[in-house]
Symmetry: C2
Subunit: 456 residues, 2 copies
């Protein structure tokens, strides 16, 4: 990733008097988590980099900070026209403004081959992102190959080829870990679950047309004990497969039509005293899922509706604000209620438009909402989301990068780093850097990269 | 491109009774142009394909029709789950509705490596496009390596790597020819020429700030004889390097500010009796360029402004309508004046937006403008334009395909082929076909391709 030894070997000859960097010493203060640990929300990514000849020093509390500092060092080194590698003497104290800096990938609307995911993890590390929010399953397909419930992907994946085996999943997690990136899987219920129903009998609510089942199915069936038996076992597996402290449990966009049509659901509603408020039924379901996941000592992230619908949430719940409409007010409400928030709403990068839309993403100020200092501290970060309706391996990389880089800098750098002209220069330059590192990041605007290959 | 022999070899065993296609006979009626000729505007692309066992017959007047028929045949063959290749007995009479079906690529805002251009020619042939409109130079860079004027690219290209050598150009032309695709180069003047000025002294108009030259330059200087000496020699080269009957001479978006600022230009205006109508000066210039190119027995295409500004045009001039605003009326005006028209306005594919915008492109009816039958016949086709401000090798293919396929079908098929549901199915299927042929065409919507590779 960075090449100081190569740099020495290729140093210009006959210029012995020129200061030369011989070594980069990396000093990590804390023995924890060591090289086998996983990054966490509370991990330190701060580092202190001093570049003086002949020895540069990179100090960090934890390995994660060292990784960020190595990335910075690699970006400070540039090649001159003669093939020498140069770096300016510099001293940098650096740390992220927000602890959660995520990219959401959606592997359900379109399957993403492992290679695409790994390449994206590379790009994330080049941009100091630290969370892969893996929206792994949804209505359209269930590519996650479950150990306990293999029928879920046998029946629910697009095909036997369009799956992530346990080995694949492990590889993604490990590849991410080595780059200081957490992998938070999302298993969204009770809506967005059509594909689950293919391989798990009685999991989804049968919809009715008049007095007869219509043959179609709605959200997860919240009135059956078998549902919770299944979820208990399923999330036991997920909790063990994914080492991160958090699981994303979804909870967005639950349509009530099917529940309304089903006489047994309505009977249950009466018995529970829910009246005709299906949001209560939704909360009833979510509550049980949250309790199940809590019992495995996992924290959870959920989409904002779960909060809006007043489910009882553990204090350490992370609420992801995604609705573009009034997200500023929603941040006020969520943090006002004392919950931790993640902002995704202004960063739906699948919504493409003509021109330099990175400026729009870059200009978002996440803490620009009415609230106390205490509330502001509850916003722990944000995510750039690339939903998959129109994205697969053919266009993922150039669609996401370098547009997501703008989000990455917003979440890492100080609040006052906002100059668009400066950012344009850095972004164009960084895009060429990504290109030279094998990331097919699209151009920011007209121009060229010095190291572009001409060849066929 | 099509594989009937492989198909035989891999035919299912033990099913000898099943009808088997042993051969595809290709019969070309006319000895002209033979296999060494170039496709032209007037070429015939009609074909008649009869698939019956054991011998299918493809008849065409010219080789170009045979190429289109082979493409169709290859698309009729499908592989079943057992690896056998199947084709339905069928009889097809087919021919294009419009003779000019183009893709515009812009290699100035961003350089496109040769491989991108060739891959695009493959994709074009899979979609029966027959014109590559090569917008090869513009303000930003001059990648065309001229034989007579090598300084143009030495100074005007982004770098020595960002050029098309004579060998490169020849390769593009030949690769296109073998796919029945014409290559029409565009050398846009007098505007869009900043990069020309780098390597050709006195070609551009010096702009003035008050009574002093400001140091910046405007459009080509129309008042100097040296300008026309240069253009005479330059277009002599272009006429010989590019075999097509047509050259695109641009003529769009000429800004008058610089001409207005220049006292010598104003003196010339007076002498010519142009008053303060700089459109007359523009027409004066264009007229001379058109005359030069005519003298080399080339036809020319120009952007609509040249017509709007009332330059004297040869009757066989092709006018490209590009302004989205009122393009319907412009088609009326252009054809009403008896000129041939190409429609590009609704097909600027660089203007991306969220969702299935292919439907918008597909739903355009090029002849839906007020005019006589005779006028309608003057619309000879259209072009899907991918301007390069935000496009380079990283995103060209998925941005252009399969969105351009919608334009391709509109320009090839009958006017009454307009059903969006049918088209969606065919387009999704065709997109997967392109993918399996190595074209990274982006998804139309959610789903998957059966032959997508899972691997890393």
């Amino acid at each position: 990733m960075f090449g100081y030894s190569r740099w020495r070997q290729r140093g210009r000859k006959g210029l012995a008097a020129k200061p030369e960097l011989a070594q980069l010493q990396v000093v990590i203060a804390s023995p924890e988590p060591g090289c086998d640990g996983y990054p966490q929300l509370a991990s330190s990514e701060a580092y202190h980099l001093t570049i003086t000849e002949p020895v540069a020093v990179l100090k960090a509390d934890e390995v994660w900070g060292a990784l960020r500092g190595l990335e910075t060092f690699s970006q400070l080194v540039h090649e001159d026209d003669y093939g020498s590698f140069l770096v300016n003497a510099s001293e940098i104290y650096d740390f992220p403004r927000f602890a959660h800096r995520g990219i959401l990938l959606d592997t359900s609307r379109h399957y993403l081959p492992l290679k695409s995911i790994l390449t994206n993890l590379d790009a994330m590390s080049f941009n100091k992102f630290n969370v892969l929010h893996w929206h792994i399953v949804d209505d359209q397909s269930f590519p996650y190959q479950s150990i306990y419930f293999p029928e879920l992907s046998n029946k629910g994946a697009y095909s036997y080829n369009h799956i992530y085996t346990p080995t694949d999943v492990h590889l993604v997690i490990e590849y991410a870990r080595l780059r200081g990136i957490r992998v938070i899987p999302e298993f969204d219920t009770p809506g967005h679950t059509q594909s689950w129903g293919q391989g798990q009998k009685d999991l989804l609510t049968p919809c009715y047309s008049g007095k007869q089942p219509s043959g179609s199915f709605g959200p997860v069936n919240p009135i059956l004990n078998t549902t919770y038996d299944f979820m208990t076992k399923f999330f036991e597996e997920i909790s063990s497969v994914f080492p991160d402290d958090y699981i994303h449990l979804g909870g967005d966009e639950v349509s009530f039509d099917c529940w309304q049509s089903n006489p047994k659901v309505n009977e249950f509603m009466k018995k529970q005293g829910f009246g005709i408020d299906y949001a209560k039924l939704e909360s009833y379901y979510i509550q049980k899922i949250l309790d199940i996941v809590s019992s495995y000592n996992k924290g959870y992230m959920i989409w904002q509706e779960v909060f809006d619908n007043k489910a009882q949430l553990k204090p350490d719940t992370v609420i992801e604000v995604w609705m573009a409409n009034n997200y500023v007010q929603e941040l006020s409400r969520v943090t006002g209620a004392g919950f931790t928030a993640i902002l995704a709403a202004p960063w739906y990068l699948d919504y493409i438009s003509y021109g330099q839309d990175w400026k729009k993403y870059y200009s978002v100020e996440p803490l620009n909402f009415p609230g106390s200092e205490k509330q502001k501290k509850l916003v722990i970060g944000g995510e750039a989301c690339l939903w998959g309706e129109f994205v697969d391996a053919t266009n993922l990389t150039p669609r996401l990068w370098p547009r997501a880089s703008a989000v990455g800098e917003r979440l890492w750098s100080s609040r006052n780093v906002t100059d668009l002209k400066d950012a344009y220069k850095r972004l164009s330059n960084h895009r060429c850097r990504m290109l030279s590192r094998g990331i097919a990041a699209e151009p920011v605007f007209v121009g060229y990269c010095a190291h572009e290959a001409r060849g066929r």
